[in-house]
Symmetry: C2
Subunit: 450 residues, 2 copies
């Protein structure tokens, strides 16, 4: 990935796919920020201790060791791996294993960190924030990294015992406890995205029968074509998880706790537990108080700058060109871009859709890049494996690789991701690819146009 410290002038930073691939200290080892630090910027406040906020705070300190960086987080837990909280439902991880930074990380990095501290007011003109205990703190630049909460569509009965979202450590723990204490046997998950499917698998691990309601025709319908989606449905079925397409919940029914769910087709499903995994809703409360421009999220330009020049936003709360990315690598990259620009740098955030991988035992699934033939014309290489539990498809535009879907063949995931990201020219390998010898993609450097 591009090393931020070496960036010169207006360039584009492409987010990296795998955060763990960025070597710790890679940037710190550089000799300077590579741009003129804005002398006006001495005190930076970052609100939010998730991936966007911690990345921004760390990055600011790296780029300007003299800057005063203060980070506020209001969760009871330090920065943790939100993508693994399903393992708390399935009883298979310790909360301690979810933390992504050592307890003393802020000290080590020279960041002033206030956990469990809620910011209740932001005054961009006065350049100060107000902490819930009444204290005020001045800033030269502010980063809003307030994240998001789970989105729950209007749904009669949601909120009664037995209805949950899965967003925080406590959500995961409370669901586990509810399942055990109420001896739940059957759960319904509303939403057939990655989170919903993974949660379905996690719940099945503690002997709960799971139904997944998917509004679209097949699961992961934004990442998979029909054939792959239908195969995924079958494979989930093999794990005891029923994915119901073109189905949604109308209302949740129960006397003192959830008992049944009425579906759009008029039928009802018995349900001891209902989990809504229908996406996220940006946390914009502070931005609204601050009078910043909002659409679905906090409106930012490609410098992650909000409508106020001294206020930046990054991560799930930020909306760029109407899009809220809601993705870990995007949040990390946005945090870095915000950090660079607020210190006087000039880098743009260019979104790319990262590959989607499903983390469900026994199912290896990858979707990267385009999943439909380009409107301008394209071709595909499609392999339905004879044993019926694997699927491979490449999407080409001319001779260039623009997308891929794989079910099975996890050893090919990395070469395929690299080749798609590089827009590899696979013209001379079409016969190999059609014959199933996709190992040729491993030589991606040969395939990239000079």
């Amino acid at each position: 990935m591009a090393c931020m410290a070496k960036v010169q002038g207006p360039v584009t930073v492409v987010p990296t796919v795998d955060p763990s691939a960025v070597p710790e200290g890679a940037v710190a080892a550089a000799t300077g920020p590579g741009f003129d630090l804005d002398p006006e910027v001495r005190r930076v406040v970052v609100i939010g201790n998730g991936i966007a906020g911690t990345t921004a705070a760390t990055e600011i300190r790296k780029l300007n060791p003299d800057a005063n960086v203060t980070l506020f987080g209001h969760e009871s837990y330090d920065f943790y791996n939100r993508m693994a909280i399903g393992k708390l439902m399935s009883e298979s991880t310790a909360i301690n294993n979810l933390y992504l930074l050592a307890r003393e990380w802020a000290e080590t990095k020279g960041v002033e960190y206030f956990p469990e501290s809620r910011i209740v007011g932001v005054d961009p003109a006065g350049q100060s924030v107000e902490v819930e205990d009444g204290k005020r703190l001045d800033f030269d630049r502010l980063v809003l990294a307030t994240g998001s909460r789970a989105f729950v569509p209007p749904l009669e009965g949601f909120g009664m015992p037995g209805t949950f979202v899965l967003r925080t450590i406590d959500d995961g723990v409370q669901i586990q406890q509810y399942v055990r204490r109420n001896r739940c046997r059957q759960a319904v998950i509303i939403g057939g995205g990655l989170l919903g499917l993974e949660a379905a698998h996690d719940l099945s691990q503690i002997n709960v029968r799971v139904y997944v309601l998917n509004r679209g025709p097949w699961p992961l319908d934004r990442q998979l074509d029909e054939a792959a989606g239908s195969l995924l449905s079958q494979m989930m079925g093999d794990l005891g998880i029923a994915v119901m397409g073109r189905t949604s919940a109308v209302r949740l029914l129960g006397e003192t706790k959830l008992e049944e769910i009425e579906l759009t087709d008029g039928t009802t499903l018995r349900a001891d537990l209902c989990l809504v995994t229908a996406g996220i809703e940006p946390e914009t409360g502070l931005a609204r108080l601050a009078g910043l421009e909002l659409d679905r999220g906090v409106v930012v330009d490609d410098h992650m700058q909000t409508s106020h020049p001294h206020v930046f936003a990054a991560g799930d709360c930020a909306s760029l060109g109407g899009t809220v990315f809601g993705l870990w690598p995007a949040a990390m990259e946005q945090g870095k871009v915000a950090a660079t620009n607020l210190l006087g740098g000039d880098v743009s955030y260019r979104p790319t859709i990262p590959p989607a991988r499903l983390k469900v035992a026994g199912i290896d699934l990858l979707s990267v890049g385009e999943i439909n033939l380009p409107a301008s014309g394209g071709s595909e290489i499609l392999l339905n494996e004879p044993h019926g539990r694997a699927y491979r498809r490449l999407i080409l535009q001319g001779d260039r690789l623009v997308g891929a879907i794989l079910i099975g063949y996890p050893e090919l995931f990395d070469p395929v991701i690299d080749a798609v990201k590089a827009n590899a020219d696979v013209g001379r390998y079409v016969a190999e690819l059609e014959a199933g010898r996709w190992q040729v993609l491993e030589n991606v450097s040969d395939l990239v146009p000079a």
Copy 2:
């Protein structure tokens, strides 16, 4: 340890100290039970899926592969390591890590296992039990292994939010959640035994300041002498845990949840959380319904036979000579003794007090055997280490080793335990021991009288 399968006639079985030291299948490998199986005993019901119940069920199947063994457990969780649930409070283990038997253990062993099934009635005369769903099951012999619950002394205010015991997985999880959701900063533990001290350490791991109230003069006053107890207090203090001797709670105070604890000395302590670790209370409800003789627990003889000849009891629910042992190795051994005798064998359970070890980071503590000089006369070898954070004491009766207390020197724990259990004759090594060279105890075989 004595192998049950080789026992002939009326003998005494001494419980093993470390359950993990018993090789799996050691008994199964023997060719037969070593006694005449009672032909009348074909159907055995075991109530309780803790260490006593699972051990009894497994042992019965080993001794008589033709017997029909049915095990009932009513907890939502399979048999787990109760001694590690504090790690759920400290967020450092996964629930899955606590299970001690594979999910399919009962099938493997040929035991009919009904988890989450509560027995609501026992009829010894009619030789049947009643399950909560109304079904009845006949038995030739019955084992009550119903365990115990946490004992809470009468204490005004106990039961309000913020007051807990620590007995089950759910207790551990609920305490963790209460600490996080209420941002608890200070906890009071009532009871300075092993469980209380370990819980104190676990809570301190999630940044809670802990006070331990100990009725006796120093912590672990039944296992430690004053010098060792006072050193332990200091060492707990070094970990940020205050142990208060000769102190107890009078009442718990708070509007809607716990806020303060009034102590016997008239002062009050602020407390966001109160955990009572004051021992156990045998679960005797079913035994009472069955009309069995009770004292504190279900009265058994040294064959683990209750007042009804077809009903046996083992583990925390059983009371032998007025004593409820409440110890893991005792429960395991009692399960084995009950299994042997109910099938027609004739073995006695002879209690020994197992060594006490404290599992708190940085503190290595052992107490084994006698901690006071025998009334009939004895001597001691006492070493207060110069750096003031270690302590060693041996109790002798004549030249025989009858007890030991160590703080520090974990490498000596095993030899010391072996030597005390063997009543080793250390007469000729007194000078070595007084000089601190306790490694001589490693040659325990030399020290055991022929």
